[in-house]
Symmetry: C2
């Protein structure tokens, strides 16, 4: 039996957990943190290798179904990369970007002081995040133990021995199945100089940044590039994005409407970002420290873009190598573990979930993969198809979309109705719409900044087939719009017109649809 | 035929309309603005008296159904009180309150300067609104004419002559029906001194305020009291609310969960507001100008609350008097016009819609009343029941709810499951959840400020029967939650668990439900 800090009998509260995690992250607790019911003689139905989003939600679901699981993670907390290095800091930085952006536009007006670039610090935000992230971690440990009844071992890695066996700190645990969920890592592009100090990705940014960047070049055009780049720029660090594809036209983003894309990219440029599309980074230059990126631009010329801060935004790659080695599981050309819709790998009784099986590397997918694997382990044949889903990203705005773009809908249905704001032919600075919470101050000072929205309707069936929004406060709604659009029969403009809007609603779909729904033959609005 | 500024043949753009409306509001255009198709010989199917939310949406729907309408409004624009004096300034002020609140909590940290009360000005915000409101007005006029094909006469009142006849600037127009929608006005309480300068309501605030308030007493505990009071306080004007009922426990607000209420009211107190519940205002004192409110407090003592700014937040009353006089339409004890579910009044072929028929005085109701009347006028027997609906208000937060409170659900179903954040027994300052866009900076500086949420589930049917949220960014989703909860069969925790969340989602309902949905017997979370 492995030696470790046994917490099974204790009822640690959130504050207790904070102390434990803090000490473990500082290296003061190096032993495993063990929450295992040694009295329970049942076999484990599943051993989750990795306690991130997928592992934790899978574990919870399996427990809820009456099964027994063990979850193992190298970190001293459950929840994985998201609250430690990924979605949570991204959201913190994007909120900072939004607030800084507002402060810039309203500089010296109303109660806003003259905007002082020097007050905004990327380093300080990274430190703020690092100092506070453990409160979420401690909650995951607390909730998983006290509310969800999970067994887990933290602060030590798991080694997969065979299809039923995992070794943790020298002790072997056996399960009916193994569920792999160890995520993905930044795919570092192979260019000279990429290993220089001063080159960061979203992980090392929050873990290691120790100076204030003054000029940034981002290599890559992923979501991370747009999101972190918008934050760097808003924080007063002039930022250039070097991207092979046009922004938001990368393979990993589907259903990006062109009008939406243009509003977003124009907005980034309007805020001073430089976007080099069709460009290739050739080399990170610098004498012992990154000083710029030699780049081949779209017109073929080669230029060195100066930077004291280079940020990699090229996407991520599954951490599949150890499992290929141990189990011989099949992987695809990108190194993602291949699974069927039940999350089964090519190795019997071995499942894989989350980022480890490839894109979309999104939270809903990770969590629902975990749930899917758990259901199948517990004898329920259950499939999860994530080929269609709602999506979002941040610039200084919240950008959300679901379903088809206008162009895709025209391709598929021919006769398509578009309801958008501002309407076609009306310049954004002519009207302060759409607006709602988050864009009211813009509406009365810079109406062109309030946002953009579009609803795409199949004229024949009157079904809403796509919804697209740039602004604030609409993201949450798209979860339900996704459900409504994809249920059998979908959502018609007439059903939309019957809903009860909460005015001013951040997206104005309901009332705009109502203005048209009375017509037997729909027309654009 | 009435004399006026005939715009029927012109295609005024948004900027043209801005000029026209501006001049009309300044009194430089006193004649009616006439957009009537004098070549159309058809009878009007309906004449809308009042072109606010209900009148405009009713008009659009009637046109869409192939009918002919005429809409008349005393103001030089369509859209009514909302964009001119009510919901739009309220949203602008609430966004200011949110930003000011953030600036206070983060004063002197990160990029936030030391918060300077004196920079924040209620007067300046009122002026900002006044200066900018016409851009929305002009859009309504443009859209109604160019996109919706409505006929209208603006900048002059309509006088109802009989059930089919309306007189406008001396010309009589006849319609198959008349649809009344002239809204409501602040119900001024009958207390001595209420007419003194320095006493405002939400209308006179934006129309007439000409000094910077230093200390405010609000008479009444309505939504308006909470919303405007939170703004005044955030803008550095110490504010006291004098309310007979506990806040959010007034008759006009239903389904207010007690835990949600406590989070909101505690949050207002924490920000320095004084809330006198169970108190009665006796007199506005002052020598030619309001200087305070003599108040009987809950304990029976009488105290004078000093104020240079008294704000009436007691609710509104329907503007029904002219129609009682002209048509003898029935009104209820509050003076609201009595209608059936088809919006028919007691007078044949006369309908009434919106605030004129009483609470809830909300946008969705006004607009859908207009649509309902239009459908019935066009021969479609259509009923609108607004006894249940989602609701919201602002403090410095966005507060949204739908369905039953926990207490109501326990009363009705007995066995009720609650999923809430923070969970029962966990102090708000122990964890930074719930959080998402709008509360990330709080999550990392003041976790107790991030918000509160609760999902109420009937254990037997597993249906979600109530959802409650304090925070940011969730309001939009509640429109769709309302639809889902009220559709036949409702929305079960299992269906919720299948949805695709957009993480970090402002309300965490989907993932929290998923953590429990695996259980055959649900338990709290």
């Amino acid at each position: 039996m492995l030696a470790g800090m046994d917490v099974f009998e204790s009822s640690l509260g959130n504050r207790d957990w904070q102390v434990v995690i803090e000490r473990a992250l500082r290296g003061e607790i190096s032993e495993p943190i063990v929450n295992v019911d040694r009295q329970d003689t049942r076999e484990f139905d599943a051993i989750f290798v990795g306690g991130g989003a997928g592992g934790r939600f899978g574990s919870a679901f399996l427990r809820a179904r009456g099964g027994r699981q063990l979850t193992v993670d190298r970190w001293p907390f459950l929840g994985g990369t998201c609250p430690h290095q990924a979605c949570v800091p991204h959201h913190l930085f994007s909120e900072a970007a939004r607030e800084l952006d507002l402060g810039r536009w309203l500089s010296g007006t109303l109660w806003f002081p003259d905007f002082d670039d020097k007050r905004a610090s990327i380093l300080q935000m990274a430190e703020l995040f690092r100092a506070g992230r453990n409160t979420a971690h401690s909650f995951m440990n607390w909730q998983s133990k006290q509310q969800l009844g999970m067994e887990y071992i933290l602060n030590t890695p798991a080694t997969v021995i065979d299809e039923h066996t995992v070794e943790v700190a020298g002790e072997r645990f056996r399960g009916r199945s193994i569920i792999l969920g160890t995520g993905a890592s930044t795919e570092v592009p192979h260019i000279p100089g990429i290993e220089l100090p001063g080159v960061y990705d979203f992980v090392s940014l929050v873990e290691e940044l120790d100076y204030e960047p003054n000029r940034c070049v981002i290599i890559g055009g992923s979501k991370v590039a747009i999101e972190y780049g918008s934050f760097f720029q808003a924080a007063g660090c002039p930022t250039t994005i070097v991207s092979r594809s046009p922004l938001m036209r990368t393979a990993s983003l589907h259903h990006v409407d062109e009008d939406l894309r243009r509003y977003v990219v124009d907005g980034m440029c309007r805020r001073g970002m430089t976007i080099c599309e069709g460009a290739s980074p050739l080399e990170v230059i610098g004498n012992g420290r990154a000083a710029g990126v030699r780049t081949r631009l779209a017109d073929g010329t080669v230029e060195t873009l100066a930077a004291d801060f280079v940020f990699i935004g090229t996407g991520e790659r599954a951490n599949s190598a150890p499992f290929v080695q141990a189990l011989g599981v099949d992987v695809d050309g990108q190194g993602s573990i291949v699974v069927d819709r039940r999350m089964r790998t090519s190795a019997p009784s071995v499942y894989a979930i989350g980022d480890l099986i490839g894109p979309p590397m999104e939270m809903f997918k990770a969590r629902k993969c975990g749930m899917t694997a758990a259901r199948n382990v517990m004898g329920e044949p259950y499939e999860f198809d994530f080929s269609e889903y709602p999506d979002f990203l941040h610039s200084t705005y919240e950008i959300t979309w679901v379903g088809l773009t206008e162009a895709e809908a025209r391709e598929r249905f021919g006769d398509v109705i578009v309801i958008q704001m501002p309407p076609a032919g009306v310049e954004p600075d002519e009207i302060p719409l759409p607006c709602a919470e988050g864009s009211m101050l813009y509406a009365f000072t810079r109406p062109e900044l309030t946002g953009f929205q579009k609803c795409v309707i199949d004229a024949a069936t009157r079904r809403v087939v796509g919804a697209h929004h740039v602004g604030f406060g609409a993201k949450d709604a798209f979860q339900y719009l996704d459900y409504l659009l994809r249920r059998p029969g979908g959502l018609t403009v007439d059903e939309m017109a019957e809903m009860n809007e909460l005015f001013l609603n951040p997206e104005h779909f309901i009332q705009l649809c109502r203005l048209r729904a009375g017509r037997s033959e729909l027309v654009d609005l």
